[in-house]
Structure formats: structure tokens, C-alpha cells
């Protein structure tokens, strides 16, 4: 359950605070959506302090991923399906 290692991803920011990860996504993407805490993306449930930002560029999706001991990572992966889900259910910024 919930293993991020089951997807292929790129880490854009590591061991950051959640606030830093939010600022990074806001600063680097023009297409940004707000998702609620606990939003299911792939097989994980996104942890974070609202508003939780997700950046989209084409079929790539960039999101925060928090681990209890290592802080928050900003991760980027390709998924047309998840992009469409966020575009459909997220709140555009």
C-alpha cells in the first residue's frame, strides 16, 4: 500500500519544508491546481498543508510527497491519466 517506488519519477526538490515545496511548484508551473489533503495520486495519498499545489506540464505532473523522517520532496512523473484526473477534480489556481 502506498509505495511511491512503484512509479518512475524525477525528484525536483528534496528534504524541503512543505512551504518550500509549495513555493517551488507555484514558481515553476503555469498550470497549477489545488488538491485536497488525502488526494489519491497513483497508489499514494498526498500529505500536506492546504492548499496543496500540483503542477502540470503536458502529460507530466509535479506534486509534493512527504515522508515522516525526510521532509517533503517535489516529484515529477508522467501520467496522462493522473493529469486528467487533477484537471478534472482539482481547483485551478
Amino acid at each position: 500500500m502506498g509505495c511511491i517506488e512503484q512509479i518512475t519519477y524525477e525528484i525536483l526538490l528534496s528534504k524541503a519544508t512543505f512551504k518550500e515545496s509549495s513555493a517551488f511548484i507555484r514558481a515553476n508551473y503555469s498550470e497549477v491546481y489545488i488538491i485536497p489533503p488525502g488526494f489519491r495520486m497513483f497508489n499514494v495519498f498526498i500529505i500536506g498543508v492546504p492548499p496543496i499545489y500540483v503542477g502540470i506540464s503536458g502529460d507530466s505532473i509535479t506534486f509534493p510527497y512527504t515522508k515522516p523522517c525526510h521532509g517533503t520532496f517535489v516529484m515529477k512523473t508522467q501520467s496522462k491519466e493522473e493529469v486528467e484526473k487533477v484537471q478534472k477534480t482539482g481547483k485551478p489556481v
Binding site: 500500500m1 502506498g2 489533503p37 500536506g48 515522516p68 523522517c69
Partner: protein, 162 residues
């Protein structure tokens, strides 16, 4: 929110953060003892390391009856398979605030942060700024001040939920 069903037996969830600060396991077992003594069904969730420390501290399971993997607990809360009456989130770093905010958004009642460690004051101020309830003490080696606050908090919560 109080459950008005007289058959309802209150349930609590203790969500453990990174076990790097030794204080966490002691505080969790202390909190668990208070809740269990009050007749509250209590579940402990954490990552493997955090649960391993709890298991080591209570090898015969005198206090700990139910444990759950952290990711599974978040999934169960998000998908409404679990909705505890209270959730205490143990916090000593920034990630802990993210977990508290998430749980607070997912459960029907309230989540409360129990904040300790060297950065406790700053973390508590962040939580308060986000309107996340919390109790805190700059406890690193001495759990005394936080024990008092936890006892008062649980006494208050249990009185409201009897």
C-alpha cells in the same frame, strides 16, 4: 463533535511521526495508557521504525493492542474506512505538521498535535497559525511538562465524550 449514539464506543488514533526523537515512544505509551484507562479503543499508526520502537517498549502488548502502518492509516482515513473520535499526531519536525493538517482535514472531528523536541515552539506557532490545535513543550529529555499537558487534554476530551 460528540457522538450521541449511546452504543458508540469512542475511538482514538495515535499517529506517530519520525522516531528520531526518543521522546516520542515514551509519550505515545503514556498517552495510550491514559486513553485505555478511560476505556477508549486506541490504535497506533506509524512507519515501521516507529512501530518497532513501540513494540520493543511493550513486548507483551500490555498497552498496545492495535497497530497500523502509517500509509495504510492515511488511506483508511482518506477513504473513510476509519473515522476516529480523536487523533493525536506526534510532531517534532515540519513533516509532522503536514500529517496533522492532513488528518485534521480527513476526520470528522478533530486532530490535535502533540509537539516536542528542540523546535517545539516554532512548530507550535506554525500549527496555531494554520488553526491546527496543539499542545507543546520543548521536551527533549524531560517529558514532565508535556505529560502534564497531555493528561489535562485527555481528561478534558474524555469528559466531553463520556
Amino acid at each position: 463533535m460528540n457522538n450521541t449514539n449511546p452504543q458508540h464506543k469512542p475511538q482514538a488514533l495515535l499517529l506517530l511521526g519520525c522516531p528520531e526523537v526518543a521522546m516520542q515512544t515514551s509519550l505515545a505509551l503514556f498517552t495510550l495508557d491514559l486513553l485505555v484507562t478511560d476505556g477508549i479503543n486506541t490504535l497506533i499508526a506509524g512507519n515501521n521504525a516507529a512501530l518497532g520502537l513501540v513494540r520493543t517498549a511493550d513486548p507483551k502488548g500490555y498497552y498496545v493492542k492495535d497497530m497500523l502502518d502509517l500509509d495504510t492509516a492515511i488511506a483508511d482515513l482518506a477513504e473513510k474506512r476509519m473515522d476516529p473520535d480523536i487523533c493525536y499526531v506526534f510532531i517534532h519536525n515540519d513533516a509532522g505538521i503536514s500529517y496533522l493538517a492532513t488528518v485534521n482535514a480527513l476526520i470528522g472531528t478533530q486532530a490535535m498535535g502533540i509537539i516536542f523536541g528542540r523546535e517545539a515552539k516554532a512548530l507550535a506557532q506554525q500549527c496555531t497559525g494554520l488553526q491546527l490545535k496543539n499542545i507543546w513543550a520543548r521536551a527533549v529529555h524531560n517529558p514532565g511538562p508535556l505529560k502534564v499537558k497531555i493528561s489535562k487534554e485527555i481528561e478534558h476530551w474524555a469528559a466531553l465524550n463520556r
